[in-house]
Symmetry: C2
Subunit: 393 residues, 2 copies
């Protein structure tokens, strides 16, 4: 039996090994990117579901448009305008099956075999995975604590052949937690606009900001219509429903809608109606505040524990929001080897940082998640990891 | 802005025009493939949802595995074994986001640019759409009232270069309604097995059989592990949840799971749990019987009305199940032109058959749906179409 070339391109044995290790329920995992399930609004979802099935049951269980529920598109446009400071109209919104589907569709719409994607390095694993299936090559752009270094971005847009897409994750980046400065956002939009290269601003964590309002998005500075903005209900509501959105110029959006039609016909009609009903009945912003309080506390516990248990030389800057802390280990420590010992001997897991780099060899980083488990478990997990690291020195 | 080659390959202006015409709510549409919404088990879904959220709310709203809910995989395997006479184990089941996602993933897993897909001609529009995005070329295999002509299938497997996939829809085919004989199913499995070419048996309508039990599937005769069997809850339960499944050898399944991970991470955890709970609490087979009774009656009304209102020379063989009747129009009548007049002047719609052929030029067919609207509307729709056809002669 013969498989396509892309089966080879997206060989996931690396991640497969990690997932396999994690399937053991005895493992205390700081590896995933899971929201805290005890914060899911379960009773509220039950009430919203009853409302939907009573008032529009036939419609909610039927097929629907690839673009998504018109009411949800309207709500998202309003929310983008107000909370994200990104003026948007309903006809610029497409509902996606999680942001991951938007990444897959972006690969479909923009990439041919050998096309280049410029990205932060490290960058979100799932974006690498999605674009790889379309034959992408990746070129990392220099990044500092304020975001992409614009001079390097411009140099690469000028010098690298066949750049088709720029992918960035400017709010509490996965995996590093970096939060782009407003100046960088603005300059980025200007540069990609000038070069006419489509850019994806992937923003699943922006509302999980522990202090102050959301900064203006990159999309808010986009005067050329090249920026595609992704957002999601996964981290601020619940991921199990797979409801997310993208904002783009209607012409670009129509290409994505065609691809979505060929991929899954439509998103769940019921889930879209459930989100609409939830937002009619309850205050999502209040719910997000509650999540932020819990996560902020968990991050503090993680940082304290790292201070107490990790050996000197492990560097971590506390992020101002999101789900992840990024640890740079002393030179010579290989996080993949640490991972093996941690899982096998100490029953604790994290994600070795190497998995987030397009180019191999950057093995002295670890990504730690502070949203998915409670404070005691965070403390215990860091204590165990501290032991492994001290032994590795 | 530069798009990928596949944006051109999957130009959908044809379908776009049809969809646009249908968005007018005044149109009496026999065009779609919609199940009857008044048969959706709305109250039962409400009860199943409450059960799920009460007993496993945190789990049901969280991310889950790309393979799907283990309980649902178990249920599907059992149902395949019993109702479809297709022995299957839970580890051979992958849950998909509608069967459309399985088609998209099959394109990803098996096709490179220029790869050939052998298919019935006409065939399901959505399969053409999905495979086109991966650069497929299509070669039709001769088909008669019993299914693919095996000699022609074998000839094409031998003579055509780079055949990577065979796609068939053997139970009440969309669009023709053809139901393959048992002999053809068996011979088909033998031939594709001998050539080692993966084959997709797409079966969304098999349970909508108005008389007698389901015949053995093609997969049930597959001794080489090359047949991939697709099934769906869309037509027997409700499409708005997008829950479907595929059955394949675990090695093939793992490639699909990798692609699904890169595409949407996972299907809706909640919807999978809802289907599980529904099947614990209620009898899906009884529900399917009720659907079949209603659809069978609607088909009778459609056939009677065609006899009464269509001009002589329009040929239609009533299918033994499914959603569609396929009408061959007298030579010289172009269904695309009929469509235009029907929609604009008589406010009635169908799908012109040409859309289902990989090669252009077969324009004297129409596909009529008898599931989505009630008996009076079917009669009225056929009456109006009869007028248009009589004028076209």
């Amino acid at each position: 039996m013969r498989y396509s070339k892309r089966v080879e391109w997206c060989d996931t044995s690396d991640i497969g090994d990690i997932l396999k290790a994690l399937s053991n329920p005895e493992i205390l995992s700081l590896a995933g990117g899971l929201p805290a399930p005890e914060l899911f609004p379960i009773e509220e979802v039950k009430m919203a579901t009853a409302l939907v099935l009573d008032r529009e049951g036939e419609r909610a269980l039927q097929y629907s448009s690839a673009y998504g529920d018109p009411r949800l598109r309207e709500i998202v446009a309003k929310r983008m305008t107000e909370k994200y400071r990104t003026p948007a109209q309903a006809d610029e919104v497409l509902i996606t099956n999680g942001s991951q589907q938007a990444l897959d569709m972006a690969g479909k719409v923009f990439l041919d075999e050998g096309s280049v994607v410029l990205c932060e390095s490290p960058t979100y694993l799932g974006a690498l995975g999605a674009f790889k299936t379309y034959g992408a090559r990746f070129v990392g752009v220099e990044t500092d604590k304020d975001g992409m270094v614009i001079e390097d971005l411009e140099r690469k847009l000028k010098e690298v052949d066949d750049v088709r897409l720029v992918y960035v994750n400017p709010d509490f980046q996965n995996p590093t937690g970096i939060d782009w400065s407003v100046e960088r956002r603005k300059a980025f939009a200007e540069v990609v606009g000038r070069y006419g290269v489509p850019a994806i601003e992937d923003n699943p964590y922006g509302e999980l900001r522990f202090d102050g309002p959301c900064p203006p998005s990159i999309k808010s500075f986009d005067t050329s219509g090249v920026v595609i903005s992704l957002g999601s209900f996964s981290k601020i509501f619940c991921p199990g429903m797979r409801v997310a959105w993208m904002i783009a110029e209607p012409e670009i959006l129509s290409k994505f809608a065609d691809m979505k039609q060929n991929d899954i016909l439509c998103s769940s009609t019921l889930h879209q109606a459930q989100v609409v009903a939830y937002m009619e009945m309850f205050d999502l912003d209040l719910h997000v505040e509650r999540i932020c309080q819990v996560y902020s506390k968990r991050l503090s516990v993680m940082m304290e524990s790292i201070g107490q248990f990790f050996p000197e030389g492990a560097v971590v800057n506390p992020p101002a929001g999101g789900l992840f802390a990024w640890v740079e280990l002393p030179e010579g420590i290989n996080a993949r080897e640490v991972f093996k010992v941690a899982v096998e001997e100490h029953k604790v897991a994290f994600v070795p940082g190497g998995a987030f780099f397009a180019e191999p060899g950057q093995d002295n980083y670890m990504r730690l998640n502070f949203s998915g488990v409670g404070e005691d478990r965070i403390r215990e997990g860091i204590r165990r990891l501290g032991q492994v690291l001290s032994q590795s020195l």
